[in-house]
Subunit: 253 residues, 4 copies
């Protein structure tokens, strides 16, 4: 039986600044990637977002990022693997504490933004992030770009690796995402997105921009919460998944 | 049999900036209050300080502070109890993660600087900090100024409360410290300090500036690591404690 | 001839987080208090906000705050007068640089949030802030709560002091604002607000909550930009001022 | 007549953390590159360092860095040219304010760490930094690695460009520094360093690692303040320069 997890970044408000539409999105996803204070999020926001996720039975994940509040963790930084290890242990522990204080449990870790993107291509960084998670708690699941160094690193350290796929990004022959700088990187049509998701979930394949069908490990689908049409899209995709007999549930629960 | 714990703040370096003499001090104390990144400390320093403490069998404690790096957590801030709760859960979880990732365990929590001083007098703040620790892990010990609101708050929440005493500060008739702004607040003589410590540890009493003997709960003695003469003082106090038959060991282990 | 300045806090976005409705508000006010990076604002936001203000002929002001991004500069901190002096020189210089780089000029300084409120009552803090501005550029105007220590401090240092008044806050017999913790602190009715503004601007008096008429120096009126009804209110007040023959223009230009 | 400027990074303490030996170094150099708060430095340190430099007649320079306190501005970050422009305007204005408040003047700008190194090779970044300085104050001098994009960018914008040279780094045939990752990058011998400096200052040439003599524009020599032997080296180099008849004075005064 086909299953898929729907994950969404959240808890990215900071102090007096609001971001996202967490409360509404939480009703539609099964996993919450919660910011841990380095790129967004603050102790209050983390506490509240964890509470909202636990109340809805949504799996709580840590979403650690680079120490770059002003750049929202989206700017590459030349950090060492040791620095990556340390910033992940710190942030994962901080978020896990809010889950534990509320009688819940942290379920998974997914790196944020530039940390995720750099590590997807860099085995040393990916290895350091996976080691941080494994050293902290070997029972946590580890979300990474399907087919990337993140997945390889997690498997090597005995973590349960969850391949993340995207509805609105096109793929290349080697199973990687088409860089945003290239034409055709974004899938604009909702129905094309839906078709791509169904193919990935039901057949474990995606049609690359070249037309070739390439294999992809689709454990969890990234949902964007804070864009116009985001809620409509997640409702549409859930309807299509239901019609195709796909079970939507948290991968790490 | 009389016992006392010797605790010292450490792990307060930040990035390229060094502070303290942690490696040397760790050989002489039994508990390490390790900064958690808000007033000092960073993920790398936390990891290393935890490793050094675990290697020496020194009890690992979290030392959460106000979010005031520039002021080193020493400036009072008008935070709400909820904000105190949240910043303590965050920082305690972050530090505990480094202990856990290294196969060790967090043993206790002691608030830092202005957070400690404000909460010692403010029952609502003290209650919030104690609740944060109790909600996170009821088995942790809680260090607070002997006789202060911190101790009352910890006991109320079922935490093991450890009264902290000072060798170089004089006491008032109500068991509180003489404010630094008043004459006689600091005990300058090493031998007077030693005498005060022995009286507190052996008899549970301290001679206040008025001359009255007042009761005090001496579970852990604060050692200052980063001052001229600090190492000589801790060696002198350990010698005096040994001669008096007092066992020096971690209170929370 | 009666004149009044309308000032509004702006440029308080930070990184990926948006705050306020600056572009719309700028069409209705005559002075912009632009955040300088400590409580809100970042270099990009400062550059853009200064550009928008200069393009509309709105007077550019620096709005320095406490170093408390997470608390948006609204939490009191026990800083020394020297610390206040230094954080004001730093922030004022940073904002002035953006004005100068665009061929414009900084016109005034108004402290933000807790820094403003603490200094309004504390002569030493107010003196330090005024000294920072005077030392940096004696030609700058200095906005402070009408009748407060801020005004006295600015006058003492030879700065042009501009008394700030509020449309939605009630006053006490001594000319200070009724604390928000007390009933009747906020004026809920738009027409009561308009009446209070006209009395302050035309007669230099305000009816205190006791019913007494007390004198007030009304040079600049604080407009809140980021609240429901804010734009409607500023349009209503401008209409009332026009009907009463009051000229609306920047006080520091 | 041959002249050379001796510049040194300083004002890099932060809050409770001390760094460097500024007071001693200031007696031996002619230009002070003062940190502006992003990679190091804080308002108090900036004020004091400016005061010490002005008191000794040492030229005051701004030393803006990346917003990376934890990494001391030494980690490359993928910032846009606009972001570079904005962070330079901000920091230069902040530092200039302390000079102006003390009756002095900012004389020059030199970027710090990773910002300097990235821009030395990247014309777009270098152009943005030079534009920030030129837009702010066209009379400022601009220090950059001799022969690098920084120098080209400054000249293009009409700034006075000052070529910086190094005593302890070897050069390549194209006039760039040998990367630290390569053997022979560092010149270990004091006398070799002295010889290299005299050749650069007196003849405008440096012997590259290949043995070739290559031209170099030596306006200012970088002095490291915070290393063992730093003070001894600067005294030795000043003696050698004096014996060779070279005048040591600030380039931007």
């Amino acid at each position: 039986m086909a299953v898929i997890d729907l994950n969404c970044d959240m808890g990215e408000s900071f102090g007096a600044w609001r971001m996202g539409n967490d409360e509404a999105v939480l009703d539609h996803v099964t996993s919450a990637n919660i910011a841990c204070g380095f790129h967004g999020g603050d102790p209050r926001t983390m506490r509240r977002t964890v509470a909202m996720a636990l109340a809805r039975g949504v799996a709580v994940g840590a979403h650690p990022g680079l120490p770059d509040l002003q750049g929202f963790g989206r700017r590459n930084m030349s950090i060492t693997p040791d620095e990556a290890y340390e910033m992940v242990v710190y942030q994962v522990g901080a978020l896990a504490a809010f889950a534990q204080a509320q009688g819940g449990r942290l379920r998974f870790v997914k790196a944020h933004g530039a940390l995720y993107n750099m590590a997807a291509r860099d085995a040393a960084l990916a290895g350091a992030i996976a080691a941080a998670v494994a050293d902290y708690d070997r029972s946590l699941a580890f979300v990474g770009l399907a087919g990337s160094e993140l997945i390889r690193a997690a498997e090597k350290r005995g973590l349960r690796a969850l391949g993340e796929v995207f509805a609105d990004r096109s793929y290349q022959d080697d199973g990687t995402l088409t860089p945003r700088s290239q034409p055709g990187a974004m899938i604009e049509s909702v129905e094309d997105s839906v078709r791509q998701v169904l193919s990935m979930v039901l057949e474990g394949r995606v049609r690359a921009v070249s037309g070739r069908e390439v294999p992809v490990q689709a454990d969890t689908l990234c949902i964007h919460g804070d864009q116009p049409g985001a809620l409509a899209f997640v409702q549409r995709i859930r309807q299509a998944l239901a019609e195709a007999g796909v079970t939507v549930r948290a991968a790490a629960a």
